[in-house]
Amino acid sequence: MPQRSLDGQVVVVTGAGRGVGRSIARLFAAEGADIAICARTASQLDPVAEELRAGGTRVVSRIVDITEWDQVEAFAAEVAAEFDSVDILINNAAAGADTDPIADSDPLAWAKTVTTNVIGPYFVSRAFISHLSEGARVVNFGSGNGHKAVAERSAYGVGKAGLSMLTKCMAIELWDRGIEVNEFIPGPTATVMLPWATHLDDEEEIARQFGGLPSPENPSERAKTPAEAAEHVLWLATRPAGGPTGQLYSLMRRPV
Protein backbone atom coordinates (compact mmCIF):
# COMPACT_ATOMS: atom_id res chain seq x y z
CA MET A 1 0.00 0.00 0.00
CA PRO A 2 1.40 3.43 -0.86
CA GLN A 3 2.45 5.76 1.95
CA ARG A 4 -0.54 7.77 3.15
CA SER A 5 -0.21 11.25 4.61
CA LEU A 6 -1.52 10.33 8.09
CA ASP A 7 -0.11 6.82 8.58
CA GLY A 8 0.63 6.28 12.27
CA GLN A 9 -1.17 9.44 13.41
CA VAL A 10 -4.04 9.73 15.86
CA VAL A 11 -6.84 12.15 15.06
CA VAL A 12 -9.70 13.29 17.31
CA VAL A 13 -12.82 14.70 15.65
CA THR A 14 -15.75 16.06 17.63
CA GLY A 15 -19.22 16.16 16.15
CA ALA A 16 -18.37 13.33 13.77
CA GLY A 17 -21.83 11.79 13.48
CA ARG A 18 -22.76 13.82 10.43
CA GLY A 19 -21.80 16.66 8.13
CA VAL A 20 -18.27 18.01 7.87
CA GLY A 21 -17.11 16.12 11.01
CA ARG A 22 -18.09 12.81 9.45
CA SER A 23 -16.36 13.73 6.18
CA ILE A 24 -13.19 14.60 8.08
CA ALA A 25 -13.26 11.27 9.93
CA ARG A 26 -13.67 9.42 6.63
CA LEU A 27 -10.96 11.36 4.79
CA PHE A 28 -8.42 11.24 7.62
CA ALA A 29 -9.06 7.50 8.08
CA ALA A 30 -8.53 6.99 4.36
CA GLU A 31 -5.19 8.80 4.78
CA GLY A 32 -4.15 6.19 7.32
CA ALA A 33 -4.94 7.82 10.68
CA ASP A 34 -6.33 6.12 13.76
CA ILE A 35 -9.55 7.96 14.64
CA ALA A 36 -11.30 8.97 17.84
CA ILE A 37 -14.78 10.36 17.27
CA CYS A 38 -17.56 11.64 19.44
CA ALA A 39 -21.05 13.04 19.01
CA ARG A 40 -24.24 13.24 21.03
CA THR A 41 -26.39 10.96 18.89
CA ALA A 42 -25.62 7.23 18.86
CA SER A 43 -27.81 6.58 15.83
CA GLN A 44 -25.54 8.94 13.85
CA LEU A 45 -22.18 8.13 15.43
CA ASP A 46 -22.39 4.32 15.48
CA PRO A 47 -22.67 3.86 11.71
CA VAL A 48 -19.63 6.14 11.21
CA ALA A 49 -17.59 4.06 13.66
CA GLU A 50 -18.73 0.82 11.99
CA GLU A 51 -17.87 2.17 8.55
CA LEU A 52 -14.37 3.22 9.63
CA ARG A 53 -13.68 -0.08 11.38
CA ALA A 54 -14.88 -1.97 8.30
CA GLY A 55 -12.25 -0.05 6.36
CA GLY A 56 -9.52 -1.29 8.71
CA THR A 57 -9.20 1.85 10.86
CA ARG A 58 -8.56 1.69 14.62
CA VAL A 59 -11.45 3.64 16.15
CA VAL A 60 -12.46 5.00 19.52
CA SER A 61 -16.09 6.11 19.42
CA ARG A 62 -17.98 7.60 22.33
CA ILE A 63 -21.25 9.41 22.96
CA VAL A 64 -20.24 12.80 24.37
CA ASP A 65 -22.01 16.07 24.99
CA ILE A 66 -19.03 18.44 24.81
CA THR A 67 -20.73 20.88 27.19
CA GLU A 68 -20.45 18.26 29.97
CA TRP A 69 -16.93 18.31 31.43
CA ASP A 70 -17.22 14.83 32.95
CA GLN A 71 -18.15 13.32 29.61
CA VAL A 72 -15.32 15.13 27.82
CA GLU A 73 -12.82 14.01 30.44
CA ALA A 74 -13.98 10.41 30.14
CA PHE A 75 -13.61 10.60 26.34
CA ALA A 76 -10.05 11.91 26.69
CA ALA A 77 -9.22 9.16 29.19
CA GLU A 78 -10.55 6.48 26.85
CA VAL A 79 -8.58 7.90 23.92
CA ALA A 80 -5.42 8.12 26.05
CA ALA A 81 -5.85 4.50 27.11
CA GLU A 82 -6.24 3.30 23.53
CA PHE A 83 -3.64 5.48 21.82
CA ASP A 84 -0.31 6.83 23.07
CA SER A 85 -0.96 10.42 22.12
CA VAL A 86 -3.05 12.63 19.85
CA ASP A 87 -1.51 14.25 16.79
CA ILE A 88 -4.46 16.16 15.36
CA LEU A 89 -7.46 17.56 17.25
CA ILE A 90 -10.41 18.84 15.20
CA ASN A 91 -12.88 20.90 17.25
CA ASN A 92 -15.75 20.61 14.82
CA ALA A 93 -18.79 20.10 17.05
CA ALA A 94 -21.01 23.17 17.18
CA ALA A 95 -24.54 24.27 17.80
CA GLY A 96 -26.64 25.88 15.11
CA ALA A 97 -27.58 29.50 14.96
CA ASP A 98 -30.50 30.64 17.04
CA THR A 99 -32.84 32.66 14.91
CA ASP A 100 -34.38 34.95 17.50
CA PRO A 101 -33.60 38.61 18.11
CA ILE A 102 -31.86 39.14 21.46
CA ALA A 103 -34.94 40.90 22.80
CA ASP A 104 -37.11 37.82 22.28
CA SER A 105 -34.49 35.13 22.89
CA ASP A 106 -34.88 32.28 25.33
CA PRO A 107 -32.07 33.03 27.82
CA LEU A 108 -31.27 29.41 28.58
CA ALA A 109 -31.25 28.40 24.92
CA TRP A 110 -29.05 31.40 24.15
CA ALA A 111 -26.58 30.43 26.86
CA LYS A 112 -26.60 26.81 25.66
CA THR A 113 -25.67 27.87 22.12
CA VAL A 114 -22.76 29.98 23.37
CA THR A 115 -21.66 27.16 25.66
CA THR A 116 -21.67 24.55 22.89
CA ASN A 117 -19.69 26.75 20.51
CA VAL A 118 -16.96 28.01 22.82
CA ILE A 119 -16.99 26.29 26.23
CA GLY A 120 -17.36 22.90 24.52
CA PRO A 121 -14.22 23.33 22.38
CA TYR A 122 -12.44 24.70 25.46
CA PHE A 123 -13.43 21.59 27.48
CA VAL A 124 -12.23 19.31 24.67
CA SER A 125 -8.97 21.23 24.30
CA ARG A 126 -8.44 21.32 28.07
CA ALA A 127 -8.95 17.57 28.33
CA PHE A 128 -6.70 16.70 25.38
CA ILE A 129 -3.85 19.22 25.64
CA SER A 130 -1.81 17.03 27.96
CA HIS A 131 -2.22 14.13 25.50
CA LEU A 132 -1.18 16.13 22.43
CA SER A 133 2.11 15.06 20.90
CA GLU A 134 4.94 17.50 20.29
CA GLY A 135 4.18 19.12 16.94
CA ALA A 136 0.46 18.34 17.09
CA ARG A 137 -2.12 20.33 15.15
CA VAL A 138 -5.41 21.74 16.41
CA VAL A 139 -8.11 23.04 14.06
CA ASN A 140 -11.03 24.97 15.54
CA PHE A 141 -14.14 25.48 13.44
CA GLY A 142 -15.01 29.15 13.22
CA SER A 143 -17.71 31.00 11.34
CA GLY A 144 -18.08 34.23 9.44
CA ASN A 145 -20.70 35.04 12.10
CA GLY A 146 -17.89 35.10 14.66
CA HIS A 147 -16.24 37.98 12.82
CA LYS A 148 -19.15 40.04 11.56
CA ALA A 149 -22.44 40.72 13.33
CA VAL A 150 -25.51 39.11 11.82
CA ALA A 151 -28.93 40.04 13.17
CA GLU A 152 -30.83 37.28 14.95
CA ARG A 153 -27.75 35.05 15.15
CA SER A 154 -26.18 36.63 18.23
CA ALA A 155 -25.62 33.52 20.35
CA TYR A 156 -23.91 31.65 17.53
CA GLY A 157 -21.82 34.71 16.60
CA VAL A 158 -20.78 35.37 20.18
CA GLY A 159 -19.81 31.72 20.67
CA LYS A 160 -17.78 31.62 17.46
CA ALA A 161 -16.11 34.97 18.24
CA GLY A 162 -15.04 33.50 21.55
CA LEU A 163 -13.72 30.40 19.82
CA SER A 164 -11.68 32.60 17.47
CA MET A 165 -10.03 34.23 20.48
CA LEU A 166 -9.52 30.83 22.15
CA THR A 167 -7.67 29.74 19.00
CA LYS A 168 -5.27 32.66 19.27
CA CYS A 169 -4.73 32.15 23.00
CA MET A 170 -3.99 28.45 22.48
CA ALA A 171 -1.56 29.30 19.67
CA ILE A 172 0.57 31.55 21.85
CA GLU A 173 0.48 29.14 24.80
CA LEU A 174 1.30 25.94 22.90
CA TRP A 175 3.84 27.02 20.28
CA ASP A 176 6.79 25.99 22.45
CA ARG A 177 5.61 22.37 22.20
CA GLY A 178 5.50 22.82 18.43
CA ILE A 179 1.70 22.65 18.56
CA GLU A 180 0.00 24.78 15.93
CA VAL A 181 -3.58 25.96 16.42
CA ASN A 182 -5.62 27.54 13.65
CA GLU A 183 -9.19 28.56 12.97
CA PHE A 184 -10.98 27.19 9.93
CA ILE A 185 -14.14 28.66 8.43
CA PRO A 186 -15.82 26.36 5.92
CA GLY A 187 -18.44 28.89 4.83
CA PRO A 188 -21.87 27.55 3.91
CA THR A 189 -21.78 23.79 3.55
CA ALA A 190 -24.54 21.40 2.49
CA THR A 191 -25.27 20.05 5.98
CA VAL A 192 -28.05 20.54 8.52
CA MET A 193 -26.20 23.75 9.46
CA LEU A 194 -26.78 25.30 6.01
CA PRO A 195 -28.48 28.62 6.84
CA TRP A 196 -30.94 28.45 3.95
CA ALA A 197 -31.94 24.84 4.55
CA THR A 198 -32.87 24.96 8.22
CA HIS A 199 -36.34 23.66 7.34
CA LEU A 200 -34.77 20.32 6.37
CA ASP A 201 -33.07 17.83 8.66
CA ASP A 202 -32.01 15.21 6.14
CA GLU A 203 -28.48 15.77 4.88
CA GLU A 204 -28.84 13.81 1.69
CA GLU A 205 -31.92 15.82 0.83
CA ILE A 206 -30.06 19.07 1.61
CA ALA A 207 -27.14 18.00 -0.58
CA ARG A 208 -29.55 17.05 -3.37
CA GLN A 209 -31.51 20.32 -3.24
CA PHE A 210 -28.73 22.80 -2.48
CA GLY A 211 -25.32 21.18 -3.05
CA GLY A 212 -23.03 23.39 -5.13
CA LEU A 213 -25.73 26.02 -5.66
CA PRO A 214 -25.47 29.73 -4.78
CA SER A 215 -26.77 31.21 -1.55
CA PRO A 216 -30.13 32.96 -1.98
CA GLU A 217 -28.93 35.85 0.20
CA ASN A 218 -25.27 36.16 -0.85
CA PRO A 219 -24.95 34.97 -4.43
CA SER A 220 -21.15 34.83 -4.34
CA GLU A 221 -21.44 32.05 -1.76
CA ARG A 222 -22.38 28.50 -2.65
CA ALA A 223 -23.19 25.43 -0.60
CA LYS A 224 -19.97 23.41 -0.58
CA THR A 225 -19.94 19.68 -0.01
CA PRO A 226 -18.67 18.44 3.36
CA ALA A 227 -15.95 16.56 1.46
CA GLU A 228 -14.59 19.83 0.02
CA ALA A 229 -14.34 21.29 3.51
CA ALA A 230 -12.65 18.13 4.78
CA GLU A 231 -10.00 18.36 2.03
CA HIS A 232 -9.04 21.85 3.15
CA VAL A 233 -8.90 20.80 6.80
CA LEU A 234 -6.56 17.97 5.82
CA TRP A 235 -4.30 20.45 4.06
CA LEU A 236 -4.34 22.80 7.05
CA ALA A 237 -3.68 19.98 9.53
CA THR A 238 -0.70 18.71 7.57
CA ARG A 239 1.34 21.92 7.15
CA PRO A 240 5.03 21.36 7.87
CA ALA A 241 6.37 22.29 11.31
CA GLY A 242 6.89 26.02 11.77
CA GLY A 243 3.88 26.81 9.61
CA PRO A 244 0.95 29.04 10.45
CA THR A 245 -0.38 29.18 13.98
CA GLY A 246 -3.01 31.48 15.47
CA GLN A 247 -4.24 32.16 11.92
CA LEU A 248 -7.60 31.99 10.17
CA TYR A 249 -8.14 29.90 7.05
CA SER A 250 -11.43 30.20 5.25
CA LEU A 251 -13.33 28.82 2.28
CA MET A 252 -15.79 31.70 2.28
CA ARG A 253 -16.49 33.57 -0.92
CA ARG A 254 -17.12 37.01 0.55
CA PRO A 255 -14.86 38.98 2.87
CA VAL A 256 -15.00 37.62 6.43
Binding site: K224, P244, G246, Q247, Y249, R253, R254, P255
Partner: protein, 257 residues
Protein backbone atom coordinates in the same frame (compact mmCIF):
# COMPACT_ATOMS: atom_id res chain seq x y z
CA UNK B 1 0.24 16.93 -16.31
CA UNK B 2 1.55 19.72 -14.09
CA UNK B 3 -0.92 21.70 -12.03
CA UNK B 4 -0.45 24.98 -13.89
CA UNK B 5 0.44 23.77 -17.37
CA UNK B 6 -1.09 25.94 -20.07
CA UNK B 7 -1.52 28.87 -17.67
CA UNK B 8 0.17 32.26 -17.70
CA UNK B 9 1.23 33.93 -14.45
CA UNK B 10 2.45 37.47 -13.85
CA UNK B 11 4.52 38.20 -10.74
CA UNK B 12 5.38 41.79 -9.90
CA UNK B 13 8.52 42.42 -7.90
CA UNK B 14 9.66 39.03 -9.14
CA UNK B 15 13.39 39.69 -9.33
CA UNK B 16 14.22 38.56 -5.82
CA UNK B 17 12.86 37.38 -2.51
CA UNK B 18 9.27 36.21 -2.30
CA UNK B 19 8.37 37.19 -5.87
CA UNK B 20 11.30 35.21 -7.24
CA UNK B 21 10.30 32.14 -5.25
CA UNK B 22 6.69 32.40 -6.43
CA UNK B 23 7.78 32.73 -10.07
CA UNK B 24 10.01 29.67 -9.85
CA UNK B 25 7.35 27.63 -8.00
CA UNK B 26 4.78 28.46 -10.68
CA UNK B 27 7.23 27.63 -13.49
CA UNK B 28 7.95 24.29 -11.83
CA UNK B 29 4.19 23.66 -11.82
CA UNK B 30 4.08 24.26 -15.57
CA UNK B 31 3.03 27.90 -15.93
CA UNK B 32 4.57 30.37 -18.36
CA UNK B 33 5.77 33.49 -16.56
CA UNK B 34 5.89 37.23 -16.90
CA UNK B 35 8.08 38.82 -14.27
CA UNK B 36 8.84 42.46 -13.68
CA UNK B 37 10.98 44.41 -11.27
CA UNK B 38 13.30 47.38 -11.36
CA UNK B 39 16.60 45.50 -11.71
CA UNK B 40 17.52 43.79 -14.99
CA UNK B 41 20.32 41.63 -13.56
CA UNK B 42 17.92 40.08 -11.05
CA UNK B 43 15.28 39.52 -13.74
CA UNK B 44 17.86 37.79 -15.94
CA UNK B 45 18.72 35.39 -13.14
CA UNK B 46 15.05 34.57 -12.48
CA UNK B 47 14.35 34.12 -16.20
CA UNK B 48 17.19 31.63 -16.38
CA UNK B 49 15.71 29.65 -13.46
CA UNK B 50 12.21 29.77 -14.95
CA UNK B 51 13.42 28.65 -18.36
CA UNK B 52 15.41 25.84 -16.74
CA UNK B 53 12.02 24.50 -15.61
CA UNK B 54 10.95 24.40 -19.25
CA UNK B 55 8.72 27.48 -18.99
CA UNK B 56 8.69 30.69 -21.01
CA UNK B 57 9.63 33.90 -19.23
CA UNK B 58 8.90 37.46 -20.28
CA UNK B 59 10.72 40.06 -18.22
CA UNK B 60 10.37 43.80 -17.98
CA UNK B 61 11.74 46.73 -16.03
CA UNK B 62 8.71 48.27 -14.36
CA UNK B 63 8.22 50.75 -11.56
CA UNK B 64 4.75 49.63 -10.41
CA UNK B 65 3.79 53.21 -9.57
CA UNK B 66 4.41 54.34 -13.15
CA UNK B 67 1.17 53.91 -15.09
CA UNK B 68 2.82 54.17 -18.51
CA UNK B 69 5.41 51.55 -17.59
CA UNK B 70 2.74 49.21 -16.21
CA UNK B 71 0.66 49.56 -19.38
CA UNK B 72 3.71 49.00 -21.60
CA UNK B 73 4.50 45.78 -19.77
CA UNK B 74 0.84 44.78 -20.04
CA UNK B 75 0.99 45.32 -23.81
CA UNK B 76 4.16 43.22 -24.11
CA UNK B 77 2.56 40.50 -22.05
CA UNK B 78 -0.63 40.41 -24.11
CA UNK B 79 1.35 40.37 -27.34
CA UNK B 80 3.38 37.43 -26.06
CA UNK B 81 0.74 35.37 -24.22
CA UNK B 82 -2.64 36.97 -25.11
CA UNK B 83 -3.90 36.74 -21.50
CA UNK B 84 -2.86 36.23 -17.90
CA UNK B 85 -4.52 33.57 -15.72
CA UNK B 86 -2.82 34.38 -12.43
CA UNK B 87 -1.80 37.85 -11.30
CA UNK B 88 0.46 38.05 -8.25
CA UNK B 89 0.76 41.60 -6.91
CA UNK B 90 3.91 41.07 -4.90
CA UNK B 91 5.97 44.24 -5.43
CA UNK B 92 6.17 46.19 -2.21
CA UNK B 93 8.39 47.45 0.51
CA UNK B 94 8.79 49.88 3.35
CA UNK B 95 10.74 52.94 2.38
CA UNK B 96 9.95 55.11 5.35
CA UNK B 97 10.67 53.94 8.87
CA UNK B 98 10.28 56.10 11.89
CA UNK B 99 7.69 58.07 13.77
CA UNK B 100 5.09 60.05 11.84
CA UNK B 101 6.25 63.31 13.44
CA UNK B 102 9.69 62.96 11.88
CA UNK B 103 8.76 61.13 8.69
CA UNK B 104 9.76 62.21 5.21
CA UNK B 105 6.48 63.03 3.41
CA UNK B 106 7.80 61.96 0.00
CA UNK B 107 9.08 58.60 1.20
CA UNK B 108 5.86 58.08 3.18
CA UNK B 109 3.75 58.70 0.08
CA UNK B 110 6.07 56.59 -2.05
CA UNK B 111 5.63 53.64 0.33
CA UNK B 112 1.86 53.81 -0.04
CA UNK B 113 2.22 54.15 -3.81
CA UNK B 114 4.51 51.13 -4.26
CA UNK B 115 2.44 48.80 -2.08
CA UNK B 116 -1.10 49.96 -2.71
CA UNK B 117 -1.26 52.06 -5.85
CA UNK B 118 1.01 49.57 -7.65
CA UNK B 119 -1.36 46.74 -6.75
CA UNK B 120 -4.30 48.78 -7.99
CA UNK B 121 -2.51 49.82 -11.20
CA UNK B 122 -1.54 46.28 -12.21
CA UNK B 123 -5.01 44.98 -11.37
CA UNK B 124 -6.63 47.82 -13.33
CA UNK B 125 -4.42 47.23 -16.35
CA UNK B 126 -4.81 43.45 -16.42
CA UNK B 127 -8.43 42.86 -15.37
CA UNK B 128 -9.85 42.72 -18.86
CA UNK B 129 -7.13 40.23 -19.83
CA UNK B 130 -7.77 37.79 -17.00
CA UNK B 131 -10.13 35.07 -18.23
CA UNK B 132 -13.10 33.93 -16.17
CA UNK B 133 -11.88 31.55 -13.51
CA UNK B 134 -8.54 33.36 -13.09
CA UNK B 135 -6.82 34.17 -9.83
CA UNK B 136 -5.41 37.30 -8.22
CA UNK B 137 -3.07 36.96 -5.25
CA UNK B 138 -2.12 40.12 -3.38
CA UNK B 139 0.89 39.85 -1.09
CA UNK B 140 -0.25 41.60 2.04
CA UNK B 141 1.23 41.70 5.53
CA UNK B 142 0.34 41.14 9.15
CA UNK B 143 1.37 44.79 9.39
CA UNK B 144 -1.77 45.62 7.43
CA UNK B 145 -3.93 44.21 10.21
CA UNK B 146 -2.14 45.42 13.30
CA UNK B 147 -0.17 48.60 13.87
CA UNK B 148 3.51 48.14 14.54
CA UNK B 149 5.85 50.82 15.82
CA UNK B 150 7.48 53.35 13.53
CA UNK B 151 6.25 51.92 10.27
CA UNK B 152 3.00 53.81 9.71
CA UNK B 153 3.41 54.15 5.95
CA UNK B 154 3.83 50.40 5.46
CA UNK B 155 1.04 49.62 7.96
CA UNK B 156 -1.33 51.95 6.17
CA UNK B 157 -0.35 50.76 2.69
CA UNK B 158 -0.82 47.08 3.54
CA UNK B 159 -4.12 47.79 5.30
CA UNK B 160 -5.17 49.36 2.01
CA UNK B 161 -4.05 46.28 0.08
CA UNK B 162 -6.08 44.13 2.44
CA UNK B 163 -9.23 46.15 1.83
CA UNK B 164 -8.54 46.38 -1.91
CA UNK B 165 -8.46 42.57 -2.05
CA UNK B 166 -11.86 42.38 -0.40
CA UNK B 167 -13.33 45.04 -2.71
CA UNK B 168 -11.97 43.30 -5.80
CA UNK B 169 -13.27 39.92 -4.60
CA UNK B 170 -16.74 41.41 -4.26
CA UNK B 171 -16.53 42.81 -7.78
CA UNK B 172 -15.05 39.81 -9.57
CA UNK B 173 -16.85 36.74 -8.20
CA UNK B 174 -19.45 36.83 -11.01
CA UNK B 175 -16.56 36.15 -13.42
CA UNK B 176 -15.26 33.33 -11.24
CA UNK B 177 -12.07 35.27 -10.52
CA UNK B 178 -10.92 34.61 -6.96
CA UNK B 179 -8.95 37.35 -5.20
CA UNK B 180 -7.12 36.59 -1.95
CA UNK B 181 -4.50 38.04 0.37
CA UNK B 182 -1.29 36.21 1.15
CA UNK B 183 0.38 37.14 4.44
CA UNK B 184 3.92 35.73 4.44
CA UNK B 185 4.93 36.73 7.97
CA UNK B 186 8.62 37.52 8.40
CA UNK B 187 10.65 36.15 5.48
CA UNK B 188 14.39 36.21 4.89
CA UNK B 189 14.47 38.84 2.16
CA UNK B 190 16.43 42.00 1.65
CA UNK B 191 13.30 44.04 2.48
CA UNK B 192 12.92 42.30 5.80
CA UNK B 193 16.63 42.64 6.50
CA UNK B 194 16.44 46.35 5.64
CA UNK B 195 19.33 46.05 3.22
CA UNK B 196 20.42 49.27 1.59
CA UNK B 197 19.76 49.52 -2.18
CA UNK B 198 22.20 47.32 -4.05
CA UNK B 199 23.09 45.39 -0.92
CA UNK B 200 21.75 41.83 -0.76
CA UNK B 201 22.25 39.72 2.32
CA UNK B 202 22.11 36.03 1.32
CA UNK B 203 18.89 34.26 2.40
CA UNK B 204 20.66 31.53 4.35
CA UNK B 205 22.65 34.12 6.28
CA UNK B 206 19.45 35.88 7.41
CA UNK B 207 17.78 32.60 8.39
CA UNK B 208 20.84 31.51 10.39
CA UNK B 209 21.00 34.86 12.14
CA UNK B 210 17.42 34.52 13.39
CA UNK B 211 17.33 30.75 13.80
CA UNK B 212 17.13 30.85 17.59
CA UNK B 213 15.19 34.03 18.11
CA UNK B 214 13.21 36.23 15.75
CA UNK B 215 14.08 39.91 15.45
CA UNK B 216 13.01 42.09 18.38
CA UNK B 217 9.93 43.56 16.70
CA UNK B 218 8.34 40.06 16.65
CA UNK B 219 7.18 37.83 19.53
CA UNK B 220 9.33 34.79 20.27
CA UNK B 221 6.88 32.47 18.53
CA UNK B 222 7.40 34.07 15.13
CA UNK B 223 9.86 32.49 12.72
CA UNK B 224 11.86 33.94 9.84
CA UNK B 225 10.93 31.80 6.85
CA UNK B 226 12.64 30.96 3.59
CA UNK B 227 10.94 32.70 0.63
CA UNK B 228 10.37 29.30 -1.02
CA UNK B 229 7.84 28.50 1.74
CA UNK B 230 5.80 31.46 0.52
CA UNK B 231 6.15 30.22 -3.06
CA UNK B 232 4.55 26.94 -1.98
CA UNK B 233 1.59 28.71 -0.36
CA UNK B 234 1.10 30.90 -3.44
CA UNK B 235 1.04 27.75 -5.57
CA UNK B 236 -1.61 26.23 -3.30
CA UNK B 237 -3.68 29.40 -3.65
CA UNK B 238 -3.22 29.46 -7.43
CA UNK B 239 -4.39 25.87 -7.77
CA UNK B 240 -7.63 26.05 -5.77
CA UNK B 241 -10.54 24.74 -7.83
CA UNK B 242 -12.96 27.28 -9.25
CA UNK B 243 -15.48 28.33 -6.58
CA UNK B 244 -12.85 28.19 -3.85
CA UNK B 245 -12.12 30.92 -1.35
CA UNK B 246 -12.27 34.55 -2.46
CA UNK B 247 -11.83 37.72 -0.42
CA UNK B 248 -9.95 35.62 2.15
CA UNK B 249 -6.48 35.67 3.67
CA UNK B 250 -3.91 32.88 3.60
CA UNK B 251 -1.35 33.57 6.30
CA UNK B 252 1.94 31.95 7.28
CA UNK B 253 2.28 34.20 10.33
CA UNK B 254 2.77 32.59 13.72
CA UNK B 255 1.44 35.48 15.79
CA UNK B 256 -2.27 36.23 16.15
CA UNK B 257 -3.14 39.17 13.92
Amino acid sequence: MSELSGQVALVTGGGRGIGRSIAIAFARAGADLAVCSRTQSELDEVAEKVQAEGANCLTGIVDVTDRAAVERFRDDLIQRYERVDILVNNAGGGLERGVVAESDPDRWRRTVEVNLFGTYLFSRALLEHIPDGGKIINVSSGMGLKAANQSSAYNVAKAGVHMFTECLANELWPRGIDVNNLIPGPVATSTFNRDAPGQRTPTEEIITKFADEPPPQFPKFERVKHPDEVGELALYMATRPRGGPTGQTFSLARRPL
